[in-house]
């Protein structure tokens, strides 16, 4: 659920103009492109990168929330959080499968995540310090992801679009359970209200960064839009998200941490203060609070699971040999 403005996609391509025009004609006619169809190398490369980043984000995204499962304040909250984190694992798997149809192997993608070569959404490199963060993540982070993912259901690449339809169906509960958590805290004691406000203060700006750099600084966006991998620009989606979220915060009596945030009648949306892009790039490049920890956790899971994978494969080989002998 956490695709963000694609980091470092290079849509450059070397096919003949005739080939590219024929491909573009199919795209413009809203035809879906399927894995075995001819496609420009740049299209394939962009999708492998984007779907891979998206899949990694789902998987790494399980960690900040997994951190609170055992400390959920009630059985109801624990069951919901457990189901949400399990969903994110499922989303990662749908997406890995979609990327694999383009000829990249799961092992290769895993290796790139563990080596740090592949990126994932910067939002998951922030720590989850309080229970309120479980609410804020559901409300804002899943909310931002939904804004991003709904247009991806119409992405020109068939397997990605189909995976996104499944994912979007499952996301709405994620956002609602998060908002409900924040709502209960906002209506609670002073300590609970403060906890909710503190959490919102920490997550608001990183959530806005999830949509990626401003359009003017988003070098490869245009090609992605032309190929209908992407349907809306980063800034357009960010604006939509802000406009939807401000009244939700007002309803809770919480304050969004941006003194410049105000309604602009002329554009029919909210204006907001400057986003700290230095922070964004620092986190993307590996210097967020949790970057090292997240990759370490994934590596540990991979290494600790090695004997299970090996045993399962060895068992499968033995069983098949036995079955063949019996025939």
């Amino acid at each position: 659920m956490y695709s963000q403005g694609l980091i470092g996609a290079d849509g450059s391509t070397e096919e003949t103009q005739e080939f590219l025009d024929a491909f573009q004609k199919r795209i413009d006619a809203e035809e879906k492109i399927e894995p075995n169809d001819p496609m420009p190398e740049g299209y394939r490369r962009t999708l492998v990168r984007q779907i891979g980043q998206h899949a990694h984000s789902e998987i790494v995204g399980m960690l900040p929330e997994g951190n609170w499962i055992t400390r959920a304040p009630s059985l109801r909250r624990k069951a919901a959080l457990l189901a949400k984190v399990q969903d994110e694992g499922g989303h990662g798997l749908y997406l890995y499968s979609a990327a694999e149809t383009l000829g990249v192997s799961r092992e290769q993608m895993t290796e790139e995540l563990l080596s740090g070569k592949a990126k994932y959404s910067s939002i998951f490199n922030y720590p989850t310090l309080s229970w309120a963060d479980m609410g804020t993540i559901g409300w804002l982070v899943d909310g931002a992801a939904i804004m991003n993912q709904i247009p991806l259901c119409r992405c020109s690449f068939g397997p990605y679009a189909r995976a996104m339809i499944r994912v979007c169906k499952e996301e709405s509960f994620h956002q609602r359970q998060g908002y409900e958590i924040v709502m209960y805290l906002a209506r609670g004691t002073k300590e609970q209200r403060d906890m909710a406000q503190d959490s919102l203060n920490r997550w608001w700006w990183p959530s806005l960064m999830m949509f990626g750099p401003h359009d003017a600084d988003s070098a490869h966006s245009e090609q992605s839009m032309e190929w209908k991998i992407k349907r809306f620009s980063n800034d357009a989606l960010r604006q939509k998200f802000i406009d939807a979220t401000v009244p939700q915060a007002e309803f809770l009596g919480l304050t969004l941490p941006d003194p410049d945030l105000k309604w602009n009648d002329e554009k029919g949306g909210y204006d907001h203060g400057p986003i700290d892009w230095d922070e964004f790039w620092r986190v993307v490049k590996g210097d967020g609070v949790m970057n090292r920890d997240r990759v370490k956790a994934r590596k540990k899971a991979w290494d600790d699971g090695a004997w299970v994978r090996e045993a399962a494969l060895a068992h499968a080989v033995k069983r098949e040999a036995r079955m063949q002998a019996a025939e």
Binding site: Q86, Y94, E100, R162, A312, H315
Partner: protein
Amino acid sequence: MANETPLWEVFIRPRNGLSHKHVGSLHAADEVLALNAARDVYTRRSEGTSIWVVRSSQIVASDPDQAEENFEPTGDKIYRHPTFYDIPEEVGHM
């Protein structure tokens, strides 16, 4: 990471009376683990009453490069459809 875990295609029957439909794929060492994984990955919200898994390598597919010669010829065989035939209205529904 040389040992690649095999790929499986997953088909689910949404409810009795409907046929199994392809929903996606997954990796698993054997058919038992594939069925278990399919249940966890593809039926978390009562999406089905039955699961089939088939090794992806066992699926035989038509060649996309031959799609035109395979499927286009039916386009002009409109006499295969009931609306091709003129039956007077007085005859009633047929």
